[in-house]
């Protein structure tokens, strides 16, 4: 299938990204990549249990939006949410600690890889039931609209989500109420193990449905952090100013399988290699060099990012496992779990 992204000339003025923002986009992508790779390594060492859904290859989307968002905006993401949570500023030891089931984990070991949440940084949860968080994001946007806070909810999901009912309910609902929510479909070409085009009525699973809800068709190169950042800025700003929701489809590719259990043997020969040539981080590094950023600057950033991941790893490893007292805590607002007197 054609995986290229067609770009249209836009009548709107180009958003000037600038050196500082570009360096921030690069830093974010590096940290997301290195941390995700570390998560994979820790799996192989049996220090991370359960399952895990990695974003390797998809970092430009989390970074582009993360940098474009206001600190008090809200992120809602899926079980493939490590990158989105980190991109809001969640602590890396908190993320790795949660994956490792340690006390220092963001959720104290009660949520795991698929439910990373950091309310303090606007990361309002990772949702492991496909589609469930789209209406939840709409509800947060409703709250912002009701209270007049000009906050925006950004909701990330995969291409597979576009075929579940909650996707359609949330889009219609958000448009009818003109809510400040930006829905972002990360189209990595596969719903779990199945090529998305074999189970979807349209070529672009999200963007081709936008018209059904009176929304503009927006497809963006999800492996180009600049393009993601510009698109994010445009639609987040519009939502913040009362212009209502947007639905963005970002084309990308995951370098690994769907989850830990998936070796991704269903991919045609050569496809991964083709996408590795468009690896968002190498691509962005080359752009920065062309723009005159010094090689040494990039090397420093890469070393710093790796040092941060190393430090977070050691902190998480050193953290104790959660106390068994945690089991009966926080079912209810009183901190406990009592269902009877």
């Amino acid at each position: 299938m054609d995986t290229s992204v067609k770009r249209k000339k836009s009548a709107e003025p180009e958003i000037d990204i600038g050196r500082e923002t570009r360096l921030e986009l690069y830093r974010q992508q590096l940290e997301l990549r290195y941390c995700e790779k570390r998560a994979y390594d820790l799996f192989l060492q049996n220090l991370i249990k359960g399952t895990s859904h990695l974003s390797l290859g998809q970092e430009a989307i989390a970074a582009g939006f993360g940098v474009a968002m206001r600190p008090d905006d809200w992120t809602f993401c899926t079980y493939r949410g490590h990158a989105h949570t980190l991109a809001r500023g969640a602590s890396m030891e908190g993320v790795l600690g949660e994956l490792m089931g340690r006390e220092c984990g963001l959720l104290g070991g009660k949520g795991g890889s698929m439910h990373l949440t950091d309310v303090e940084h606007g990361a309002m949860g990772s949702y492991a039931i496909i589609g469930a968080h789209l209406p939840v994001a709409a509800g947060a946007a409703w709250s912002a609209q009701y209270r007049g806070t000009e906050q925006v909810a950004v909701c990330f999901f995969g291409d597979g989500t576009t075929n579940i009912g909650a996707f359609h309910e949330a889009l219609n609902f958000s448009v009818v109420w003109k809510l400040p929510v930006v829905f972002v479909c990360e189209n990595n070409l596969y719903m779990e193990y199945t090529p998305i085009h074999t189970v979807t009525a349209v070529e672009h699973p999200a963007a081709d449905r936008a018209g059904a809800y009176g929304l503009e068709k927006v497809v963006v190169d999800g492996n180009d952090a600049d393009e993601v950042y510009k698109t994010a800025t445009k639609y987040i700003t519009r939502a913040r100013r009362g212009g209502g929701p947007a639905l963005i489809e970002a084309m990308t590719y995951r370098h690994s399988g769907h989850s830990r259990a998936d070796p991704a043997k269903y991919r045609p020969e050569g496809e991964l290699e083709k996408w590795l040539e468009r690896d968002p981080i190498n691509f962005y590094r080359n752009r920065l060099l062309k723009l005159g950023i010094a090689e040494a600057t990039l090397k420093d950033m890469e070393a710093s990012a790796m040092a941060k991941v190393d430090k977070a790893t050691e902190t998480a490893k050193a953290s104790p496992v959660p106390s068994l007292d945690a089991i009966e805590k926080n079912v209810w607002a009183d901190g406990g779990a009592a269902w009877r007197n």
Partner: protein, 325 residues
């Protein structure tokens, strides 16, 4: 004291809380302009305006998802699911999202919201609009479950549910909507997790919920007069939290336990109470526990069939008088 219907008590409870707290908002299908299909929310749109009282598309996942998203970001939504049967189409949001999020996030996210829904038989709507599903809700950790039987409790428990920091599933019994009762004047706020003893007897303790409370009270009158069996009747009111203290103490006083449940037999709420009683007051019991429930089948629609399926006053009298001596 004013006399209100059960349906008017719903609107009165919502209005009391919306007038008190700007963060309370109300959404659902046909709830605003139409005042609800059961006319339980008439006048709220006029009183509080379209910003706070909102009609929604037929999108139950969107309604409860929006309530959840709003609750975690500062609002206190009351969401209506028109018929409790429709909870099945948004059960993911109830059981996987709303109920579990505080726990999974280790307390980072609070969800102060209320889901109101019309539950139960009596309207001849058949198996997809008349079933009693309070036992579905009771089976999910992380959500409180309330089912009032009287207009005063509708208002008071609804207010308590809105003020509660945890999510509450509030079952209104649709056959009770026209029922009248005294409701305290002025602000009325009750307490979740408290059963109420409505009648004190010597021979047997009947534990009932919602519409079954009224049938149990009527049955108790007949049992007393015609069979010489004197019954205590306990209105459970709240399944989660469950007031086991009151229930166990009332069982101990009479030595017999009868549950009267509208939900289908298997895993009905009374089974949990029977289990607790067997564990914790077995030596106070003078005979077997009796559960009177809707049989384990989908509810039929014809009036004679529906009446013969859900526990009736006659059936309670018959079963109880045969089995309790």
């Amino acid at each position: 004291m004013a006399e209100l219907t059960y349906r008017d008590a719903v609107a009165a409870g919502i209005a009391q809380e919306m007038a008190r707290d700007e963060s309370v908002v109300f959404l659902g299908e046909d709830v605003a302009a139409a005042g609800g299909v059961f006319k339980a929310t008439v006048g709220l749109l006029e009183q509080f305006g379209p910003k706070r009282v909102r009609d929604c598309p037929i999108s139950e996942q969107a309604i409860l998802g929006a309530a959840m998203g709003a609750a975690m970001t500062g609002l206190k939504p009351i969401a209506e699911i028109m018929f409790s049967d429709f909870l099945a189409v948004c059960w993911d949001i109830v059981a996987n999202e709303i109920a579990k999020t505080r726990y999974m996030t280790n307390g980072q996210i609070a969800l102060p919201l209320v889901i109101r829904t019309a539950n139960g038989a009596g309207s001849r709507f058949g198996a997809q609009h008349s079933q009693s599903v309070e036992n579905w809700a009771m089976a999910v950790p992380g959500i409180k479950v309330v089912a009032p039987a009287f207009p005063a409790d509708v208002k008071g428990l609804l207010a308590a549910a809105v003020r509660d920091p945890d999510p509450v599933l509030f079952f209104e019994q649709k056959s009770l909507y026209p029922m009248k009762g005294e409701v305290p004047d002025g602000e009325h706020v009750d307490e979740l997790g408290k059963a109420r003893v409505l009648r004190q007897g010597k021979d047997c303790t009947i534990v009932a919920l919602a519409a079954m409370v009224h049938r149990s009270l009527d049955a108790a009158e007949i049992l007393e007069k015609e069979h010489g069996i004197s019954c205590t009747v306990v209105d459970v009111r709240s399944l989660v939290p469950l007031d086991t203290r009151t229930i166990l103490s009332e069982i101990a006083k009479t030595g017999r336990l009868v549950t009267v449940e509208e939900n289908p037999r298997l895993c009905g709420w009374g089974a949990e109470i029977a289990s607790i009683a067997a564990d914790e007051c077995f030596w106070d019991l003078d005979g077997p526990i009796l559960r009177i429930t809707t049989p384990h089948l989908p509810l039929p629609s014809a009036d004679q069939l529906e009446d013969a399926t859900v526990p009736s006053v006659e059936r309670i009298v018959r079963e109880l008088s045969e089995k309790i001596d």
